[in-house]
């Protein structure tokens, strides 16, 4: 193993990935404060396990897995959050005191959050990793510990449901074509 410095590396990873990982976690748990806590914990855990990472280039993959696992764990143990997640579309989900500035854009975000929240957990995770973090099927399979076939299946079903949920609010062109 080569010699490298956890603090320095984590600072670089933080600069490059903190915002995206918190946003991904926000999609998964629908609570910005919780998403920040989860991501912060994942960074600390990555630092703690640095010596065990055989290849430091894999630190980001480790970090992503840690975020997904912690989000899953947080949802499992926080029934309040689950109840929050299962609210229907169209209900405004205000998760931060400063969420009032750009109402239209925030509403569209909240519709996406609510649409994701309606999906089964696996489908939600696959869609966030695929369409927000832009991971390949192989990377998603590795992050979630499932087969590539399962990734395809979850992605296909989840995409269809989410597009149907968001279509009315976002004007999905594909949906319009389908109905034409």
């Amino acid at each position: 193993m080569n010699r490298w410095e956890a603090d320095s590396a984590l600072t670089q990873i933080y600069a490059a990935h903190w915002t995206a990982l918190v946003r991904a976690a926000h999609f998964l748990v629908n609570d910005l404060g919780l998403a920040e806590e989860i991501t912060q914990d994942a960074f600390v855990a990555t630092h703690e396990h640095w010596a065990g990472l055989e290849d430091p280039a894999k630190a980001v993959a480790y970090l992503r897995r840690a975020v997904v696992n912690r989000a899953r764990s947080a949802l499992r143990h926080r029934t309040v959050v689950l109840k929050h997640l299962r609210r229907g579309l169209g209900e405004r989900l205000v998760d931060s005191p400063d969420a009032a500035e750009d109402v239209l854009a925030d509403e569209r975000r909240d519709i996406v959050l609510a649409g994701l929240a309606q999906l089964p957990r696996r489908q939600r995770e696959v869609l966030v990793l695929r369409f927000y973090l832009d991971l390949s099927e192989a990377e998603i399979a590795e992050a979630l510990g499932i087969s590539k076939g399962a990734v395809k299946s979850h992605a296909s079903r989840g995409s269809a449901t989410l597009r149907a949920s968001l279509g009315a609010a976002f004007g999905d062109p594909a949906e319009e074509t389908d109905h034409a």
Partner: protein, 351 residues
Amino acid sequence: MPENNRPSGEDWLRAALHEAAEQTHPSDRLDEIRSRTARHGRVSARQRRWAYPVMASGAVAACLLTVTLLGPRLFNGSDTTPPIGAETASDSPHGSTSTPSQPRVDPATPVYYALDSGPERSTSWAPTQPLVREFHRDASGDRMGSAVQQLSATPADPDYRTYVPAGIVSTAQVVDGTLRIEIADPDATQRPPELSATQARTAVLQIVYTTRAAAGQARLPVEFEIDGTALPRVLGVAVDKAIALPDREAMAPIALTTPENGAPVSDELRLTGRGFDLQGGWIWEVSDDTGAVVGSGSGKENQSGRGVQTFEESVVTDRWTPGDYLVSVRVRDPRTAQVLPWSDSRQFTIR
């Protein structure tokens, strides 16, 4: 046809998620992460073996992190030069069982200084000099003590400076959920003649931000005290006003995290940092050792931020000859499109 629509449907979903994500603005938690990793760096037996040995002088060995010196090599598998002040793990006085190839974890303390590369800035309180952050490392185990000591030391970055008089803070500790900062000298309630009002305000901000960061809690209530009595003014400054100043007004509008000063660069210069209102655009500029501008560009940040934002840009350097260069970053005001007068810069060397 559904098959024909599928790719555009995926693109559409991707766009919808990215648009939604941009409405989420995470707060900056690097200081808290640093604090937590420093804590487990001290208490974990596994990581204690990585700790730096105490310097022979017994003094705090505060050393700047060599982020960029190490960074590019962290991910390509090559070996690295030990950071400044680093000792090999095998030299550890703790009876280490580690091998020289294992990483070390040391407490890293953020210290806030004034950005001296531009004018004072108007805020909702009063003019101040924008704050920037520099990470220091110490092996003392006393993170707060080290931070307080570094507050009055000369920062490594020539664009940064401190206005905190030496010895003004004797201790700082969290008691019952409040950060209590003990002032050493009763005369320190008055502004010393060598400080302007703006500099005194900046000094108080430096103390508040640095001690909160060392405590690992950015929003701690703060009280300045002397012999247990609360002080409403320090250096002639109303401390409640300093404590209430929002981050976006206290901090520099843009600041570099990497490269570190003097970093060697091979074929790519990696710029990372943080700022506010980056959706107005940020600009980088590279000049050679004669001061001539040899390259420039602008960063594209689509985040419409209310909080702190991070940025990242890779600049190809193969068109420049080996030598010393300076990279600086500035940000545009998103309302006026004017380039703000504060810049952060770093020297780097192309080999």
